[in-house]
Amino acid sequence: MTEFEPKIVAFCCNWCSYAGADGAGVARLQMPTNFRIIRTMCSARVDPEFVLRAFSKGADGVIVLGCHPADCHYIGGNYRARRRIALLKLVLDQYGFDPKRMRLEWVSASEAEKFQKTMTEFVDTIKELGPTPLKEVKH
């Protein structure tokens, strides 16, 4: 049997994390290829509906990456985002998902290495957890 390759959706904010991901690519840092990046203007643009839709369409994990606190391009976007994601984590927990499937991380434009480390870690976590439990139930 082939090894389980998770599908991960990564939401990156335009000003920090997307640039960080770009930096990781330019520097040719090695990392798994299981994630698909969606660029948003801010981490606060990530509506909880996006995350739920990703899960309902079969994503094994969702990670939201934004600027560090106090470093948001729009002053306070990431403060909103972290509250929403925290509440969303509680909702996912109630649905019965392992809360580790949803992650929020801060990656700045210069932190290509942190991006690599975060993504590798997250892919490993999801590989450990296995495929999304939604695959087994008809929904």
Binding site: E49, A86, L87, Q94, Y95, G96, P99, L129
Partner: protein, 405 residues
Amino acid sequence: MSFFDRFRKKKKDAPVAKEAKKSAASAPVASGVVCKTKTPESIEANYMHAADLGELLPGAPPNGKIKLAIYWAAACGGCDVSLLDTNERILTIGDMADIVMWPIAVDGKEKDIAEMEDGSITVAIISGAIRNSENEHMAKLLRQKSQIMVSYGSCACFGGSPALANLVAGGSKELLDYAYQKVPSTSSFQADYHPDAPVMPQTSYAAPEGELTLPVIYDRVKTLDQTVDVDYFVPGCPPLQETISHMLKAFVDFVYHGVPLPPKGTQIGVTTSSLCDQCPRTKEYRRITEIKEPFQVDVDPDLCLLDQGILCLGPATVGGCNARCTIAGQPCRGCYGPTKAVQEHGASALTAIASLFPVLEDDGIIGEDKIMDIMSTIKDPLGYFYAFTMAKSLIKVAVNEKGGQ
């Protein structure tokens, strides 16, 4: 006056103007007037005025009556009561239409409906979600026999409270086991009378007189439009009394005067904006620091409930109910469902509520655990935000994963 104050004032005036235009075109709706009022007494007076529509429904048409079928699926019966709540106009409904089926009031049976020709019922109004095989059978039968099908009430439109049972991971088996074995009253009954094997309801039983059957309960509650094709939606728990009058008038106008019906899929009785637009309370745009239940505080009759720390789903819920609950000091629970722009009512409410938590002074240095502690003050977010719309949400079932609840 700050920049934002000017903006707010403008916004408040807009719906009144829109409402005035609307009332000139169709029947009068007084919700715009409600928006302007301030004191609780005047709010109440205006609200009573809004509920009294006068003689809306026409009498018996010259060329016979339309046929009306009303059915309840998985519902509490509140929707049927709301139909009866049209007061003396219920008599006019009788003049205007032949009610061929209405389990709560009229003696029409399933076999009478089955004998009718296809499409011979003008309007079928169904309240309640699709919970078991009987609900599904009746929904399909009425769809076949009627020309217009209306999904009436929150349970039929969004799943309502019955759909919260979709969060039981074990499905119908776990539900039945719980109800017939684990609830204190049934567990002691089973222990006293059936100690060897508990007696459970059977879907078919061979009695000496013949086979007896019961409907099969499904694992998942569905909405009406997930089961059959639906023409119109009337959300609400229950919908406003005047909505049913407006709706029936529209059908009668169509049948006898050729007035075109609204396009298929229209939600009847909702506004284009959120409930906050209809709610007369003053919005201060403060922040939630502590969550309170209405019984824990002396609710200010004039101030926005969110400003008082009461979780109100008004910002995420579509208007149309004339803010019945918030005027009475109770928070909106979201029975009218999401606004047109969003699919997920729960996620929309979650976003709105989470954004009201203030940014802390040390927000730049605290970790996610601290934020988690703050947000954990909301108890049962899934049940609260999806109280009425579970069957329409993106993730419709609970899963069972190690590490999850």
